[in-house]
């Protein structure tokens, strides 16, 4: 049977009509204290998704900040958190912080984050909604979920992001995606 030209299936170029477009290729880091990604938030996208997985050299907190032209901003971070582990549910709020505390991790056990970031490149408050999977000290009973609602409340346009630990080091990988604004 012969096909007409309208019946021929054509390959769609990669990236066309994708809901998520990778703006920072997966980047691995080893025994780092700080990880930076500059020039990733642009007017091409309004909202972004950061996927990051890491473990730390000691029991420690993962922290994040926004950056402008290669310089980290260390003010006006606010965070509400819900942690659920086994039958325990706890909540807490931190205001006027120098970074967003994404939660603690325990050495050998990886934790994984989906960070949704809204309007980072627009000079208004930047909101973050994060879903985290943690493993506190082990991969069985230590399995915990964390939901974070946070913001950087200043009217600042950011073009970058930084992850860091206050003590020790961390090892992992991350990638950043922009949410397509068009169909």
């Amino acid at each position: 049977m012969a096909y007409t030209s309208s019946q021929i299936v054509q390959a769609v170029p990669t990236g066309i009509n994708s809901a998520l477009v990778c703006v920072k290729a997966e980047t691995a880091f080893t025994s780092a204290t700080s990880v930076t990604a500059d020039g990733v938030f642009t007017s091409s996208y309004t909202n972004y998704l950061v996927k990051i997985i890491f473990n730390t050299s000691t029991a420690n907190d993962g922290l994040m900040k926004f950056r402008v032209s290669g310089v980290a901003t260390s003010t006006n971070y606010n965070r509400q958190r819900l942690v659920f582990n086994s039958t325990s549910v706890t909540t807490d709020q931190l205001n006027s912080q120098t970074s967003i505390n994404l939660g603690s991790t325990n050495g050998a056990f990886e934790q994984s984050f989906d960070l949704n970031i809204y309007n980072p490149q627009i000079a208004t408050a930047t909101n973050i909604f994060s879903l985290n999977q943690n493993n506190f000290a082990n991969y069985t009973t230590g399995n915990a979920g964390v939901i974070i609602s946070a913001n950087q409340s200043a009217s600042t346009a950011f073009d970058g992001i930084e992850f860091s630990v206050a003590t020790g080091t961390f090892t992992g990988k991350y990638a950043i995606y922009g949410y397509s604004k068009t169909v």
Partner: protein
């Protein structure tokens, strides 16, 4: 030993200036984390005090609330 930074995908040692800035901020971040831990501990102590008034253990309260 110099602290390491993954600078836009490139692993390198921090400069002296970067390291000093990081250490100064890290001290504040640790204070913030300690304040958070203290607040959570106070919250937990308040919860246990209420359970004590009710004559329940934490495990019994968990069983009750599911």
């Amino acid at each position: 030993m110099a602290l390491k930074i993954n600078d836009n995908g490139i692993d390198r040692n921090m400069t002296a200036e970067e390291e000093a800035a990081h250490l100064a901020w890290a001290e504040i971040a640790q204070s913030e984390a300690e304040a958070q831990a203290d607040a959570l501990a106070l919250k937990q102590a308040a919860r246990l005090a209420v359970l004590d008034k009710l004559g329940l253990t934490a495990d019994e309260a968990q069983a009750l609330l599911g």
